[in-house]
Symmetry: D2
Amino acid sequence: MLDSRWFLEFTTEKEANLHSLEEVIHASQTKYQRLEILRIGSYGKSLILDGKMQSAEVDEFIYHEALVHPALITHGAPRSVLIAGGGEGATIREILRYPEIESVYMVDLDEEVVEACKKHMPEWHEGCFDDERVHVFYEDARGFIANSERKFDVIILDLPEPMEAGPAIMLYTQEFYRTVAEHLTDGGLMVTQATTIAPHNMNAFTIIHNTVSQIFSNVRGYWASVPSFYTPWGFVIASQSKDPKALTQEQIKERLDSLKSPLRFYNPEMHQGMFALPQYLKEALQRETRVNTDAEPISFY
Amino acid sequence: MLDSRWFLEFTTEKEANLHSLEEVIHASQTKYQRLEILRIGSYGKSLILDGKMQSAEVDEFIYHEALVHPALITHGAPRSVLIAGGGEGATIREILRYPEIESVYMVDLDEEVVEACKKHMPEWHEGCFDDERVHVFYEDARGFIANSERKFDVIILDLPEPMEAGPAIMLYTQEFYRTVAEHLTDGGLMVTQATTIAPHNMNAFTIIHNTVSQIFSNVRGYWASVPSFYTPWGFVIASQSKDPKALTQEQIKERLDSLKSPLRFYNPEMHQGMFALPQYLKEALQRETRVNTDAEPISFY
Amino acid sequence: MLDSRWFLEFTTEKEANLHSLEEVIHASQTKYQRLEILRIGSYGKSLILDGKMQSAEVDEFIYHEALVHPALITHGAPRSVLIAGGGEGATIREILRYPEIESVYMVDLDEEVVEACKKHMPEWHEGCFDDERVHVFYEDARGFIANSERKFDVIILDLPEPMEAGPAIMLYTQEFYRTVAEHLTDGGLMVTQATTIAPHNMNAFTIIHNTVSQIFSNVRGYWASVPSFYTPWGFVIASQSKDPKALTQEQIKERLDSLKSPLRFYNPEMHQGMFALPQYLKEALQRETRVNTDAEPISFY
Amino acid sequence: MLDSRWFLEFTTEKEANLHSLEEVIHASQTKYQRLEILRIGSYGKSLILDGKMQSAEVDEFIYHEALVHPALITHGAPRSVLIAGGGEGATIREILRYPEIESVYMVDLDEEVVEACKKHMPEWHEGCFDDERVHVFYEDARGFIANSERKFDVIILDLPEPMEAGPAIMLYTQEFYRTVAEHLTDGGLMVTQATTIAPHNMNAFTIIHNTVSQIFSNVRGYWASVPSFYTPWGFVIASQSKDPKALTQEQIKERLDSLKSPLRFYNPEMHQGMFALPQYLKEALQRETRVNTDAEPISFY
């Protein structure tokens, strides 16, 4: 007998996914978006914003490790990190594994989301919001960074998709990346989630990659497979001086050994594996000439 | 306005996917299975057997290149290849890119599927069924191999999932792999598709890997992300003497340069990237002790 | 094993229906709407316009008999009938059962729909488009009636739902009903489909009923259960002089006996049964004061 | 933006319905069945057993009034009533409107369902479980009636569908109806819900009707349209001496006037309307010769 209750997510106008719905842990409308924390049969406890899967219990570690470690390992000695977005707290969790971290700033628009994650999703944050090095701000990340007098060793853009009318549409433009670059310390890196790299739907990725390339001298695309996102997921990492592909497996291993706790996805081989791009994507990146600007921001949908 | 017509696929009892259905190109019940060739909005023309996506126009090249090239590149000079399954003809297509190929045997249970693919899916086979080096047999692959007096440089197991009551359930057992090993030439390799490696559902992969390891001295798991399969997809490659991880990028590049036509997914970096396994999977493989046998074959569902 | 192919119809934002999809008989975009003729597992061949079920093989006779016979039986001797809409031809089919019929005018906006019905849905029209008494016009029904110099014994409004931006939104207003009234012969009747009478969704029905009541002195609501419409379906019949509830079962039987062919849904008891309204609906009709006007036409959704 | 959470009900293998899921009020597995009380966007609070809609807030009154009043009005002076099933308490609620009622016995298999309804569905029972004339028993209705030394003026079979392996499969057989007949007082009536009368799916109805006719001399089928059941719903009422179709509207009105509270669906016209059967159904009843027996009970699905 099939289950009665289902979570239905339209990922595009032409594709949707159904997951059996075991428990509605939280459902509300915040000031900015529809917020749901659901337990689904396939992926366990899951954060859903405006109907879109953000992260799921069984594989959030893949996304968060892939987002955080290439940048922090490449940096070598990150003391200050800023996160734009990152409401679940799992990005902070990964950052705090580095013993040299002195401060983590997190700027998320929606306090209600963060409060719900704090309350209902301890598997994600593991109490890290209580760490005294962590400072959380509830405001628009773009304004926060622009107005910040501090610079950061790493800036992590852990954002929702660039959807029309979505809260993150202005956080993928050339102008924003310039602001980010101006708030990195020497040798600093930024990394952004960069949507799917599926061959039928890779426009947003290649545009983001090309846009970041207008501002930074060293830009790399990489990717990981997060099953609850359905399609392989892209990231773009950038720096004026450092190259994550230049690290040897031995260097990565040495840095990993200094972490306070073991990882579940990332390892030295995986680091290199993530930077191996399918041929179709390498060619698409070479062809891409579009630049995303404040004047005409791209929308994923 | 949403589309009216949809392709609904239950991938497990707890998860299903909906794709807009643009055209029903073919639908029939064969002697063995329900056969459909559908054009869907997300992935284009798609082969569906017993309701399960087999391969789709926009990303079949990822699956077929990932299945074929690690084995053929590692072999170095493959002249004879046997395919178990492979009805679409795309596996043959990839094999025929190697100029040294002298014969390709393909054994598929279901002639009606192959005939429908020949007729409706030229994008997959590109006419390769007409190549005089290609020999197609319609029978059970296990019996065919057991009874074969020939040996092959590479045996490719391009099979449906090991589902209870499915036609391929007996093609993932230790006894079958022994038969395969006995029909490889010296220095030969086998490769099998090996189901998903998603962290919540990787049992079949680790069991297949461990089962193959009972027979072959050199076994490697690897994977690729085929979006229309939803979750990252595993493969197991095995040989008594050769190791695909031992190849340098330069060696791979040199062999690729000899192919008759360029690839869209596989490249030297990707080769190495595919063999980089997530930490969770490495650990699961180390823990795995189950062996799949004729007496109690695993069922994926 | 569940079917792979489904017809998905959202009837409201909060409810949808899935029917297994056996065959796509026709699919196109006309000048006015998306047109599909699908064979579905539950209801057989079905006409779908803009994603909404219009009529289905297994129960279209219920809708069409309920639409036509109360008016024609009540009239007693209908010689001329005008149909607004009615593309499938089944409304004509029911009318032609009356031996006294001399002319049937049908005005449908969308010639492509009528042509597709003629070709693919002979079960509906049974060849009646070829009857020499039948005259089909492809234009807006409102303009056609307004400009007509002829009057009709019965005018049948066999229309799509009054949806915003839909082609029929202006065919449910007081001004239109006045035009209809002016084109009836003495003793003439009009009847319109009038959407669902489900208790949670009966606004459109009561508004239509009240709007018709502004123009006609004798107005009756009635209903039938057409399973493929999911909810009980309302109709409004009106005349300046005749009352369908005044007929005795004997009178109905006598008139029915004169028809050329037997009916499958309507019978003397059913005539009276259809005019029996649930208490909640009687009370809602008594409370209703809204009138639908050209200035602010109602939209069903 | 579509809702995220949905209730999915397969009504047959070829048809399913989706309702937006606003709240999971209760979900559990009882000793006998999967029990859910959900609030859905279309129909409000709803009782779901084994994934099948049982009754919904916005239209349960239609079902329960249609089930109870034809029998009780026809009886004329019912003092004792037995209900088989009826867990929600709404059947009791309708019975207690009759001032002459002295005792109501309700026999429901599943105490957990009744307790959940008591707690979460006061709109259905309106406190009637607390009435001292009401006696609830948790056991199999068939055994209870067979062993009962009491007789009843009316026996109401308010049962789940006769599904294979379902708890009610043996409560639609000739042998059971004989037991029921033996436990009616002189002039007593029984009534049973009798599944859909949709023209493509009316087998169960006609078989039940014919089976009841083996035991009772006066049997009438009737129906009502309960939107949340999707298709028109049938009932069979039976007596050795009384005929609900013999009542005049005046008689019905007089009896209704004696009730303690007004009804929302049933009225004198509606009584007659419910007994008007579509022509296709009259003919199907005439053709039906199958009798449902303990030896080979019908299954609706």
